[in-house]
Every structure is written in structure tokens, then in C-alpha cells.
């Protein structure tokens, strides 16, 4: 019985989680430099101790609309990649029995399915587990579909 730990965070009313092993660190939102003409899921760039990190707007990535920076906003920096995910709020680290992870239901309130690796029913709510590698993938067609301009 393998126990897995997930870092949880909120986007709109969804509770999302990502394997703790792919997370490097979590920070309060730093000064983000917008990048014009970048794909719309790119929120901008931040300087994490000398490394340039590309900040993904996880909301846009998941098809839930762009984020607004609030005092609760956080950046989830990923390991091995110079990428961070901008989320609305940060939650607890949740321990889950691997066997409890279920396949994602067909309909999940508009969340892009291709980034979801499964769901876990917690006591009070549903935890949607994101697939780390999928989130990072660079889909060429994204650019064509969503336009290449923020402004």
C-alpha cells in the first residue's frame, strides 16, 4: 500500500493536488514580469534566486479562466523544470493511499481532462490530481487555438 503525498491548492472552487515529489518549493507570489505575445497560459517570468522561472497561469492551462493576483495567490515551483504554477490559494499536504486514487469522471466542471491523472474523495471534498509532466508539455497547437497574445 503505497502512500502518496500531494500538495493541494485551489483554483476557483476546485481543490487540486500535485505529487509532492515534483514540487520544488512554494512561494508567495513574487514580482511577475508579463511576457507579451506569449501563449496565454504563460503568466510571466519571475526571478527565483537568479533563475528565470516561467509562471504558468494554471487557471488558463486548465481551461478555468485567467487568474487575478490576490494576497492568497501562490506560486508552486516545480522540480527539474524552470516552471511554476500560479494558484489562487495553497492548501495542506494531503496523504492519500494510492489505491484510493480513482479515474477522473467524464465531467469535471470544465477542467481540461488531459492534465488530470485522477481524483481522490477526501472527507469533505474532491481532490483533483494533476499530472505533473502533462502540465509542462508544450502543445504547439495551443498557440494556434488560444491565440498568441495576452493583450
Amino acid at each position: 500500500m503505497a502512500i502518496k503525498q500531494f500538495v493541494t491548492f485551489g483554483i476557483n472552487h476546485f481543490l487540486l493536488g500535485i505529487d509532492i515529489l515534483v514540487v520544488r518549493e512554494i512561494n508567495k507570489v513574487l514580482d511577475i514580469t508579463p511576457v507579451q505575445r506569449a501563449p496565454n497560459y504563460v503568466y510571466g517570468l519571475v526571478n527565483l534566486r537568479g533563475q528565470i522561472i516561467t509562471v504558468f497561469d494554471l487557471g488558463v492551462r486548465l481551461g478555468l479562466g485567467p487568474r487575478k493576483i490576490t494576497p492568497q495567490s501562490h506560486n508552486v515551483f516545480l522540480k527539474n523544470e524552470l516552471i511554476s504554477l500560479l494558484v489562487d490559494s495553497i492548501g495542506d499536504v494531503v496523504q492519500v493511499n494510492e489505491a484510493d486514487v480513482e479515474l477522473a469522471p467524464a465531467h469535471l466542471g470544465g477542467v481540461e481532462k488531459r492534465y488530470i491523472s485522477g481524483v481522490v474523495k477526501l472527507k469533505q471534498e474532491l481532490l483533483i490530481i494533476l499530472s505533473g509532466p502533462k502540465i509542462l508539455e508544450y502543445y504547439k497547437k495551443d498557440r494556434g487555438k488560444n491565440g498568441d497574445c495576452i493583450g
Binding site: V35, R37, G44, G50, T54
Partner: protein
């Protein structure tokens, strides 16, 4: 298991050897140039390097390399001893040898199969010409007196019996050596050394241990009976003058062994290694004694020691190889350190120092971090001489090949550049030099005929200037025939007839950088340059540099290259758009223009769909950074420093409506009208100045309108992630002193995104220039002239060319006397007839009541007459052309508007003719009467 180890030590050896060879070449070339006295250091360096390569190759078992280098070494030794004078044939053969060795080293596996006979033969011939029998390398020269027999003393031990006969004594000696040791000899030579206890040890005050250590420092002692010698036996041996023997493996040759070990030569015996090898391999086949893995392990342990020993002797300066990646990381960290320091300082400054010592501490930290950053940057820097010196060889070989005489002068080898730039420079520079020799220079005889020195000169020069590196390649060849270039460009449709007529000489020269032109054979044959000049330019531009060409027919051609010091740290201009800062690489920035608030409408107009700025007779397409980036046009209110939306979407100004927009251009305007707001009028903010950064992109320029200019700053370029690489408008990003990330703008990308039609604009520019030239011509034909403006009737203006006027005289109306209808004044004691203009041309009469009148005396030889005027208005220079039409009366050249007044230009000749006729008629009339 050991394969990788072996490989890595092998590749180490190869880089080592290649580097050594690199040092050999310039010295060889230098030797050739010194006719009389060759600097001994040069020869010694060459000898040392070649010898080291030989040693290393022998060690790695590259027989072919060893053989070749051995011969080269012999040859160089002869030169050193003064037995031979290095003429170009000798140097040629040596260089050829160096080349071959280099080829062999680059593919060590095949090295033994590479044919090197030619080079070998050449060297041998030279040696034999001087009566020197080329000796075979020591290893393949078995000592005639040495008879050896091999046998197995155990599964892994080999017994070697030697008959060591000298003149004084004949003695057979037996050694036992580990088979593994013998198998791992590689390129080492095997010696049997006889050590006389009395003469070699006692007399030289050496103990056996000392002797063995000494021996081990030069090679490997495989077996020796010295080991077993106790102190008593040693003493006894000395008394009896006994000798001991060592089996010694080393890469040194016998003479050197003797010298190193301080043993007379005749006591050193060389073993025939071939025999040993055949024995080892033969036996192996019969008795497959398991080739234990141990030999290789032995080898790997022994390898570094030996190698180190050899290498240290030859390496001139203490250097180590460092992975570039580590340097890059260090560089990054240094940048972070600087950042950290800045933040610390800012914080301390804002909170105020409590401790006075803190100030000096911060200053020290300051200096240290700056120093560290500089040093780390330096590690990536290499002298440009590294590639410059290569050209000595290129020039020498090519000029021989093409039977031209060319000399190259190199200056500024010490100038340092980033490693990556140096590497990228090699190709374009070689290209340029090759072009010089191939096409740039005339044949020697032709040069003489032209009154030039027989030997052509190439000046290759590098120097610092304004934080950039300048490289110039200058020849004194035939130069570039721009007419041919233009012709070629026109046949290739790069240039229209009209364009060709107006482009400047410089632009003509730059045609050579056009891609299609370069390969055209006719051009290269005639003009001298052009093979792949576009490639040269592209390569240079890829390095963030800039190439220019200058040429005078018959005198030569110079190519100038400007390069940044490094690719990772660049000078940049920081600008803002909205509240965001951007960096623009300074290499792309040509100039900064500030259009003052009120001036915008006069300086900016439209050509086609693009706003253009008139800048010193040129038209500069303008691009708004905000539009390119899809930002809202904003401006920061100067007082509240709030960001406000810039609302102006008005068509610029009157001038635009007047400007000639042809119908097809109009269509373009309409097409792009929704996307682009061409308004560039005065800004709403109080300081409504418009800042334009003029950017150079591939020979074209355009202006980038930004909100504000901040500062110039050195920035460290960081690359972009895949996700945003395709934005096209950014070349990278960087971290500013405050820790914020800012984007670096990519000038070519911006030009592409803005879809600037440089062709259209330059066409318009040419059109205007033509027009101007045309009006200039008109003016010239209309004679810019000084004229006198005067009135007859107060509101009617007349003009006379100043050079037709000899004098102006003010007269009182009462002094005018009348004879018949003719009026006179007294002038110089004579009566001067006066002309009233109204009598000859249809103009209003001179007012009657004027007291003071003027008389204009034209320059006329035969007839003295004055023209009456009521007022002299001015004497001015005008360039308006006088217009004449059917209604222009005789006596008037034409009319023009001078200072907003219609002015009649008088035809003095005609007037006077008429006057004379009239006077004639009158006298006739009088006579008839």
C-alpha cells in the same frame, strides 16, 4: 570495464597533442622568416612539442604518429644544430607532417591506417640530401649485440634471457617480469640497464634505493637484482666491481635514458620489442593463458603517472581544463552575488547605518563581488590570436597554391573575446582572408606593372573601441569594381535601373553582402570579392556583430567587423513602455531621437501604411513598442505618476493629407487602418516628447517609439523557456538590480512583426531625393540670384538682378528736368535720361507727389540711362524660379512671388532697346518737324 578509462586517457592525450601541435605551427613559420638567425627559443619549443607528441603517441600505441614525429624531430634537431637552414621546402615538409599527425590524432583508431608515406618520404629525402641517414625510431632498431630469448617462468611471469655483451665483457642476464607489465607497455621502450655498483652508484654517491626511485620517476622498473641487494652484499659488490641489471620500461630513448640515469651509453641495451610481442602473441595462441583483466587495471594506474611526468616537462604555463558548464554556473552565481549585494546595500541605505564600520565593510564586499564577476568573465575570454595565428599558415599555403606573393601582418593578437565568439569567428575570417588572396590580389607581375610592390599585404588587426571589439581585414589588392557589382545586381533583379542610378557608393559596395550575388562567378572574377560574403555577414551578425566593407578600386579593400566582447553580458538600453521596463541590446541601437512635443506633426508623416520620421533627409519607419507588444498605449502622468490610457487615435496632421499617397498605397492604408493607429500627434501629457530609439536591423533602420528612456546598463542575457521562445519579439530576458525580470527586445523580430516594408520606404526616400535633386536643378537653371526689389507704384514690386545694377542714386524730384517728354537728371556732370516703367510696360504710374525718388543705374556700356523708382525695398537672394507666360509683357522676364509679393523681374536689355527705339523715333519725329 576499463574501456572508458582508457578512452578518456586517450582523448586527454589527443587534446594534449593537438594543443602541442598548435604551438608548433607558428614557430615553424617564424623559423622560415628568420633567414639569418633563428631564435633558439622557437626551435626549442618546436623540438619540445614534437618530442612530447612523439612520446605521447608512442605511449598510446600510435605507431604511425611516432614514426612521423620521430623523423620530424630528427630534422628539427639538425636545424637546431645549424646543420640545416630551414628553407621553405623543409618547412613545407614539416608543416605537412604536422598536418598529417593532426589528421591521425583526430581519428586515433584509424591512425595506423592513414597513409603517411608521402610525408615520410619528403622528410627522408630532405634528410638524405643533407647526407643524413634518417635513423629509425629507437624501438624498431634492435641492438645488434642483444640476443634475447623469452620463456614462461610461470603462468603470468615471463623470463627474459639476455646476452649482454660489451667489448669488455660478455655476460648473460636473466630477468623475470610480470606478463601484465609487458602487455601494458604500449609505446614504451624496453631497456636492460647495467649498473656498475662502483662506478655508477658509489662514485656518484647514490644508494640502490635512490637509484631505483630515480629510475621510477622516468619509467617503470620491471625487474632488477638491485632489489635483493643487502647492505653487506652491496659493499662486497663494490669491492668486486660487480654490476647489477635492471629491466626498465620508459618512453625515453636510449641516449636520454643514459643522461637521465647518469649511466654510460654502452651500459644501456635496447630490447627488441617486436620479438617480445611476437612471443607474447604466439604463446597466447598456443596456451590460452587467461588474459586476466588485471593488465588493464595496471595500465590505468600506471598511465596517469607516466603521462603526468612527461607532460609537465613540456607544458609552458600552468593551466587546467575546466568544463564550460561549470564556468557558466559560476557566472550565474556571480551575477546573483552582485544582486544580493545590491539588495543588501539598498536595504542598509534605506534603514540607515547604525554601525559606522558597516560602510567600509559594504565597500569591501562591493569590490570583492565586482572582482569575482570580472575574473569569472575572464575565464571565458580567450585571446583572438588563437585564430589569428592560424592565418599565417593559411596565407602561406594559399599564396603558394595560387602563385601569388602575399604577406600577412597581424596586430592585436592579445585582444580577448568570449570563447564562443572566437569559435564563431574562425569561419568568416578564413573566408575573408581566402577572398583576399584568391580574388583581392593581382598577380605579382601585374602588381609590378601597376607600380605596386610585388608582395601583396594583408593587415589583420583587432582592437578595442567603445566596449566593442573591432577587427579589420585590409588588403592592398585591386579593390572592388562597384560598377560590375551594380550590373550584376541589376541582372539578378536585386536592383532596378532607377535605384541603381541613385544609390551611393557605399550602398553599391554593400551589394556584395546580398546572398545571390556572392556566388556569381562573373562578379568574383572581376570585382575581386564576393564568395559567400553574405555568409560572412550572417555569421558575424549571429555573433551580435556587424560587418562593413570599404574599397577603393586599385588600392584595396577593407572589411570592418564589430563584435561585442561577450555574448552573455551585453550593453543595453533600458526603456519603458507603460510601467514595464525593457532592455534593447545596444548593438542594435543606432541613435536616440527625441521629438519635442510641438514638433511631432512636422516631423512625422505617412508613407503607405507606415508612419515615418523625417530624420536628416531620410525617412525612418516608426513602430510603437506598445502596438507590437499588444499593450495599451499608456503614458505615465508626470505629476501623479499614474498610468493613463493614451486616447489619441487621430490622423496625424494636415501635412499628411497633402502627402502624395498613391492609390495602391491608399489601399494599404485602408487594409491596415483598423490594426494600426497612425496618430503620432502631440502627446497629451505636459512633457509630450516622443522618444524614438533608432534600431539597425540587417542594414535597415527603423524607429521604435517608447514611453521613456531610462538608462544604459550592462545586463546578463538569460535564455527563454520553450514556452515563450516563439514570441519573436524577445531575444531573452535578464534580471535587474532590483531582482525583477525584464525582457530583452529583439530588434529583427520587432521589424518582422511590424511588417515594415523597408523597400517601399526607401523607394519613397529615393523619390523625394530625386525630387529634391530635380528642384535643385531647376534652381540652378533659374540661377539663384541677388536681386534688388523696388517699387514704382507703392503696391507694385519689381526686381532687378543685382549684377545688372551699377549704382543706386537718391534724387529729389525737383532736380529732374524735362526735355520734351524725356526726363533727365544731372549725373557726373552729364544729363542722364530717365526711364519711367509705366511708359514701357503696363504698370501703374509712379505717384506724382513723391519728393524723394531713386534712380537705378544699370550696367550698360553704350547707353547711359536710369530707371526711376519710388522706393528701394530690399536687396535679397532668392531662388524662386521666374515664371513666364503669354501675358508677360515685353521688357519683363517674368514674375515670381518674393516674400509673399508678386514681383516682376525686369528685362533690362529689352527695356533699353525699347527706350532707344522710342528715343530714336522721337528724334526722327523732331527732325521731321
Amino acid at each position: 570495464m576499463t574501456g572508458s578509462n582508457e578512452q578518456s586517457s586517450n582523448s586527454d592525450f589527443i587534446t594534449e597533442s593537438l594543443e602541442l601541435l598548435d604551438t608548433v605551427e607558428p614557430d615553424l613559420l617564424a623559423m622560415e622568416n628568420f633567414d639569418t638567425e633563428i631564435p633558439p627559443e622557437a626551435i626549442n619549443r618546436v623540438l619540445r612539442s614534437i618530442h612530447s607528441v612523439k612520446g605521447l603517441s608512442g605511449f598510446a600505441g600510435l605507431k604511425a604518429v611516432t614514426e612521423l614525429t620521430h623523423l620530424m624531430e630528427t630534422l628539427i634537431t639538425k636545424i637546431k644544430d645549424g646543420e640545416m637552414i630551414p628553407d621553405s621546402a623543409i618547412i613545407d615538409s614539416l608543416l605537412a607532417g604536422v598536418d598529417k599527425v593532426r589528421i591521425m590524432l583526430k581519428s586515433p583508431r584509424e591512425s595506423n591506417e592513414v597513409s603517411y608515406k608521402d610525408e615520410l618520404e619528403r622528410l627522408k629525402t630532405i634528410l638524405s640530401e643533407f647526407g643524413i641517414e634518417p635513423e629509425e625510431p629507437a624501438k624498431s632498431r634492435p641492438d645488434a649485440q642483444l640476443q634475447a630469448s623469452f620463456s614462461y617462468a610461470g603462468p603470468d611471469i615471463i623470463r627474459i634471457e639476455l646476452n649482454l655483451a660489451t667489448k669488455s665483457e660478455a655476460k648473460s642476464v636473466e630477468f623475470q617480469a610480470q606478463k601484465q607489465d609487458l602487455l601494458s607497455l604500449g609505446g614504451m621502450l624496453l631497456y636492460a640497464i647495467r649498473v656498475s655498483l662502483k662506478n655508477d652508484l658509489k662514485a656518484k654517491e647514490r644508494t640502490t634505493e635512490e637509484f631505483l626511485t630515480q629510475m621510477k620517476s622516468f619509467g617503470q622498473c620491471l625487474d632488477s637484482d638491485l632489489h635483493d641487494l643487502g647492505h653487506a652484499e652491496f659493499e662486497k659488490g663494490i669491492e668486486k666491481d660487480l654490476a647489477c641489471h635492471c629491466l626498465f620500461a620508459t618512453i625515453m630513448e636510449s641516449e636520454l635514458v643514459g643522461m637521465a640515469m647518469e649511466i654510460p651509453d654502452e651500459q644501456i641495451f635496447t630490447l627488441d620489442k617486436d620479438m617480445l610481442e611476437t612471443f607474447l602473441s604466439g604463446k597466447d595462441q598456443k596456451h590460452p593463458i587467461p588474459q586476466a583483466e588485471s593488465p588493464s587495471s595496471h595500465q590505468t594506474t600506471s598511465v596517469p603517472e607516466k603521462k603526468g611526468g612527461v607532460v609537465d616537462k613540456s607544458s609552458p604555463a600552468e593551466t587546467i581544463r575546466v568544463n564550460v558548464e561549470i564556468l557558466d554556473t559560476l557566472m550565474n552565481l556571480a551575477g546573483e552575488l552582485v544582486l544580493g549585494r545590491n539588495q543588501l546595500r539598498q536595504m542598509l541605505e534605506s534603514s540607515g547605518y547604525d554601525n559606522p564600520k558597516l560602510g567600509s565593510f559594504i565597500k569591501t564586499l562591493d569590490l570583492l563581488t565586482t572582482e569575482i564577476q570580472e575574473r569569472i568573465m575572464q575565464t571565458r575570454m580567450q585571446p583572438i590570436g588563437k585564430i589569428f595565428n592560424r592565418f599565417n599558415r593559411v596565407v602561406r599555403d594559399l599564396s603558394h597554391q595560387l602563385s601569388k606573393e602575399v604577406q600577412i601582418f597581424i596586430e592585436g593578437e592579445g585582444v580577448e573575446l568570449d570563447k564562443s565568439i572566437i569559435e564563431g569567428l574562425s569561419d568568416p575570417l578564413t573566408h575573408l582572408i581566402r577572398n583576399c588572396i584568391d580574388h583581392g590580389f593581382e598577380d605579382p607581375d601585374e602588381r609590378l606593372q601597376l607600380g605596386k610592390p610585388r608582395v601583396g599585404k594583408i593587415h589583420l588587426k583587432a582592437f578595442h573601441e567603445g566596449g566593442q571589439i573591432n577587427i579589420s581585414v585590409a588588403d592592398d589588392g585591386r579593390g572592388i569594381n562597384t560598377a560590375k557589382l551594380v550590373e550584376k545586381a541589376m541582372t539578378n533583379d536585386f536592383l532596378s535601373q532607377e535605384e541603381a542610378a541613385v544609390i551611393t557608393e557605399k550602398e553599391k559596395l554593400n551589394l556584395i553582402f546580398l546572398p545571390g550575388l556572392s556566388t556569381a562567378k562573373a562578379v568574383t572574377d572581376i570585382s575581386g570579392r564576393g564568395v559567400g560574403m553574405d555568409v560572412v555577414k550572417t555569421n558575424i551578425e549571429r555573433l551580435g556583430g556587424h560587418a562593413e566593407i570599404d574599397s577603393v578600386v586599385g588600392e584595396g579593400t577593407t572589411v570592418y567587423i564589430r563584435l561585442p566582447l561577450t555574448l552573455t553580458i551585453i550593453d543595453s538600453l533600458i526603456v519603458t513602455e507603460g510601467k514595464q521596463r525593457f532592455a534593447i541590446p545596444l548593438v542594435n541601437v543606432r541613435e536616440l531621437v527625441c521629438i519635442q512635443a510641438g514638433n511631432a506633426s512636422q516631423k512625422i508623416e505617412k508613407v503607405g501604411s507606415v508612419d515615418v520620421l523625417r530624420l536628416r533627409e531620410r525617412l525612418l519607419p516608426l513602430v510603437r513598442l506598445a502596438d507590437i507588444l499588444g499593450l495599451k498605449r499608456t503614458f505615465v502622468h508626470p505629476e501623479t505618476s499614474n498610468e493613463m490610457i493614451d486616447q489619441r487615435v487621430r490622423i496625424a496632421d494636415r501635412r499628411q493629407n497633402n502627402s502624395k499617397i498613391t492609390s495602391n498605397k491608399k489601399q494599404q492604408v485602408e487594409k491596415t487602418a483598423e490594426k494600426r493607429h497612425p496618430s503620432l500627434e502631440r502627446r497629451q501629457r505636459r512633457q509630450g516628447d516622443i522618444f524614438v530609439v533608432v534600431l539597425d536591423v540587417r542594414g535597415n533602420s527603423f524607429g521604435l517609439i517608447v514611453n521613456d528612456l531610462i538608462d544604459m546598463e550592462e545586463i546578463v542575457v538569460k535564455s527563454l523557456s520553450d514556452h515563450i521562445k516563439e514570441c519573436r519579439c524577445f531575444a531573452g530576458c535578464t534580471i535587474m538590480g532590483d531582482g525583477r525580470v525584464i525582457m530583452i527586445l529583439d530588434a529583427p523580430g520587432i521589424a518582422d512583426l511590424a511588417q515594415l516594408h523597408f523597400g517601399e520606404i526607401s523607394a519613397e526616400e529615393r523619390h523625394r531625393q530625386e525630387e529634391k535633386a530635380h528642384t535643385q536643378q531647376k534652381k540652378d537653371s533659374g540661377n539663384q540670384q541677388s536681386v534688388i526689389i523696388f517699387n514704382n507704384a507703392p503696391e507694385e514690386y519689381f526686381a532687378l538682378r543685382l549684377d545688372e545694377v551699377s549704382r543706386l542714386q537718391m534724387v529729389d524730384s525737383e532736380t529732374i528736368s524735362r526735355i520734351g517728354k524725356q526726363e533727365f537728371i544731372t549725373y557726373d556732370g552729364e544729363g542722364l535720361p530717365l526711364i519711367r516703367l509705366e511708359n514701357f510696360i503696363p504698370v501703374a504710374p509712379l505717384p506724382e507727389d513723391v519728393k524723394e525718388l531713386f534712380v537705378i543705374l544699370p550696367k550698360m556700356n553704350n547707353l547711359k540711362t536710369g530707371i526711376l523708382a519710388s522706393r528701394i525695398v530690399d536687396s535679397i537672394k532668392i531662388d524662386e524660379r521666374v515664371q513666364k507666360n503669354e501675358s508677360t509683357p515685353p521688357g519683363v522676364l517674368g514674375s515670381a512671388v518674393v516674400r509673399d509679393k508678386l514681383t516682376l523681374f525686369l528685362d533690362v536689355q529689352e527695356l533699353f532697346k525699347r527706350f532707344a527705339k522710342k528715343a530714336d523715333k522721337m528724334t526722327k519725329k523732331n527732325v521731321q518737324r
